[in-house]
């Protein structure tokens, strides 16, 4: 187990700059999530860390060693692929044992470690099956067991849950997180799913166009986004943004409420015309526009249905809405976070 540091990593494929100067430090034992839209360079960065790609420039340090020119097999990292990459011609037991066999570990030791990893992930009863006889969730566990069995310096996961159905995903999220905390392994987890990122990460690095836009805890990312991209990428619906005074004013939909629901006087008030409303059970999302702002800027408000009866807010009506001043965020003309206008 070891910290992973990337310094100013660039990666160019022909004419495409996939990674555009990424620097990131993942301390020992941290669960770091790389979050970004597809094609943002997060997977390429992960492949550079494990050595399947060579960066065009920049330094990569794992456990204090510069590993730029070290092949993947000598880096001691484990990677779990999106499609798992299980060995179809091996049994589950041999799949899990494979990383140990390449290290010439003794047979007794291999058996011990395979059984340890299999029981940790609850797949001991599957050891003599082949990958094609397993369900998606079981395959994912086998891949995880194979990644962990040799106690790697760092665990790299590339969208490991994307092949599971929604229900499985929630429990797998829990499993991976618990398991990582128990083993205490440095983990880099790539995903485009913000729920996974927010729910699992000690810290999140939000990536766009090959650059890290912000690194922070889930709370920091959500509450204090560093720029417009982070503000609109994280959150469903995303943060509302309206142009004002040459910059942008942002507020989360759950902070944008009917005026009478806001206690205290320190709030910004708006006239809000409701266009449509979605009932989602635990909440109602109301979309509309603000009086005095660009009508192309659609604003969302997330209302607790228990407190706001359906007939009180109907499409076409104007209402007084407000945001507490503490919940307002400001961005300058370039989209960077500003303290105020």
């Amino acid at each position: 187990m070891a910290p992973v540091t990337a310094r100013n990593i660039f990666k160019k494929f022909d004419d495409v700059l996939a990674v555009n100067g990424m620097s990131l430090t993942v301390p020992d034992g941290e669960f770091m999530v790389l979050l970004g839209p597809s094609g943002c360079g997060k997977t390429t960065f992960l492949r550079i860390v494990c050595g399947l790609e060579r960066q065009t420039s920049g330094d990569l340090i794992i456990g204090g060693n510069l590993v730029n020119d070290i092949p993947p097999r000598a880096r001691g990292v484990a990677m779990m692929f999106q499609s798992y990459g299980l060995y179809p011609h091996y049994t589950v037991r041999n799949n899990i044992a494979f990383p140990l066999k390449t290290q010439h570990v003794s047979r007794g030791e291999i058996d011990k470690k395979v059984n340890w990893a299999a029981s940790l992930l609850g797949i001991s009863h599957l050891l003599d099956r082949r990958p094609r006889q397993l369900s998606g969730g079981e395959r994912q566990r086998v891949a995880l067991a194979r990644a962990l069995v040799r106690e790697p310096t760092a665990l790299l996961l590339d969208e490991p849950l994307s092949n599971l159905d929604a229900k499985m995903r929630a429990s797998a999220r829990q499993d991976i997180r618990q398991f990582q905390q128990r083993v205490g392994i440095t983990t880099i987890y790539v995903t485009h799913d913000q729920v996974e990122a927010m729910g699992m990460g000690d810290r999140i690095a939000v990536i766009d166009h090959g650059r890290i836009r912000q690194v922070g805890t889930p709370v920091e990312i959500y509450e204090d986004p560093a720029d417009r991209f982070v503000a609109t990428f994280v959150g469903t619906p995303p943060m509302n943004l309206v142009a004002r005074n040459g910059g942008y004013l942002g507020f989360r939909p759950e902070n944008f409420l009917p005026k009478e629901m806001i206690n205290g006087s320190d709030a910004a008030e708006f006239s809000f015309r409701v266009d449509r409303s979605e009932y989602l059970g635990s909440e109602r999302i109301v979309y509309g526009v603000l009086d005095g702002f660009n009508p192309a800027e659609v604003i969302a408000a997330k209302l607790p249905p228990a407190h706001v009866a359906e007939e009180s807010i109907r499409p076409g009506e104007w209402h007084r809405f407000a945001v507490r001043r503490g919940a307002l965020r400001y961005f300058d003309a370039n989209g960077k976070r500003a303290m105020s206008h």
Binding site: C50, G51, L52, P71, P72, R73, V77, A78, M79, F81, Q82, S83, Y84, G85, L86, Y87, P88, H89, F98, P99, T102, Q103, R146
Partner: protein
């Protein structure tokens, strides 16, 4: 009722079509079989019906083939040539196909097509320059010239076939092996080769069949009977002037085609998956 009639009609059409193809493909084998077993008087009497025996069947032609000609030697020659060419082809085409599929990027595709195109140059043109090569190596009139020449058409096709197969194989399997501690070569040997057995079998059967049925190079490079492969021996030594030894020719053709037919039927499913697995992607 109407549906039942329609079903019967469509079944009838299906089996009718299949029957036509069965007759079309099986008839030459049937012809070979009965001709090889007919006695000469039966064969050469134009009044006899040619589709069935008019006199007692005989193994006389087979006896003549093995006792009076070098047929056994020709079979052995063909086997040796086939095995050598298969070995050479595998040694060249497996690494070449893998490199083209995985390591050459976008150029690999064009290069692969280029290699395949060389397969399309007909032997009837190539034997002229190749005969110079064979002569300067001192291999004229030796079956080893065929071991040298046959890979010129088996390697390109098999490289192309394997390239397609390797491309269709998920790259994550090799990458996982590389991260798990293999070198690139280690991943190739431990992951790619075992998973490519259908494609490799296809290459083996295909190559062996091609060498077995090749005629032009054999005819131009070899004239000594003892060096001939079976296709050439049967066609040249069993036709003397204007006399065709029909019974012996058919017996020879039948024996030569049996191993190929068995191989194809045993591996048919794998053969098809090898061909299509490479062709689709």
């Amino acid at each position: 009722m109407r549906r039942a009639v329609l079903n019967a009609a469509s079944d009838g059409a299906f089996y009718g079509a299949v029957a036509i193809f069965v007759v079309l493909t099986a008839f030459p084998f049937y012809w070979m079989l009965i001709t090889s077993l007919k006695s000469n008087p039966d064969l050469y009497n134009v009044a006899n019906t040619p589709f069935w025996f008019n006199e007692t069947p005989t193994l006389e032609h087979f006896r003549y083939l093995f006792e009076q000609t070098l047929f056994a030697r020709w079979l052995l020659n063909s086997l040796i040539i086939g095995l050598c060419v298969v070995a050479i082809t595998l040694a060249a085409a497996v690494p070449a196909g893998y490199s083209l599929a995985r390591m050459t990027g976008r150029n690999g595709e064009a290069l692969g097509i280029g290699i395949f195109l060389t397969y399309l140059v007909p032997p009837t043109l190539l034997f002229l320059p190749l005969s110079r090569v064979v002569a300067s190596l001192g291999l004229q009139n030796s079956m080893w010239s065929l071991v040298l020449v046959y890979p010129t058409f088996t390697i390109p096709f098999c490289t192309w076939l394997l390239m397609g197969f390797f491309k269709a194989m998920p790259v994550e399997i090799e990458e996982a092996a590389i991260v798990d501690g293999c070198s690139l070569f280690g991943a190739f040997v431990r992951m790619v080769l075992p998973l490519s057995i259908p494609a490799i079998l296809t290459v083996v059967i295909f190559t062996f069949t091609l060498t077995l049925q090749e005629f032009v190079y054999a005819l131009t490079f070899i004239s000594t009977s003892a060096q001939k492969p079976v296709t050439l021996g049967v066609a040249t030594d069993l036709v003397r002037g204007d006399i065709f030894f029909w019974g012996e020719i058919m017996a020879g053709a039948l024996i030569a085609s049996i191993p190929v037919a068995i191989a194809y039927n045993l591996f048919l499913d794998r053969f098809i998956s090898g061909i299509t697995g490479g062709a689709v992607k």
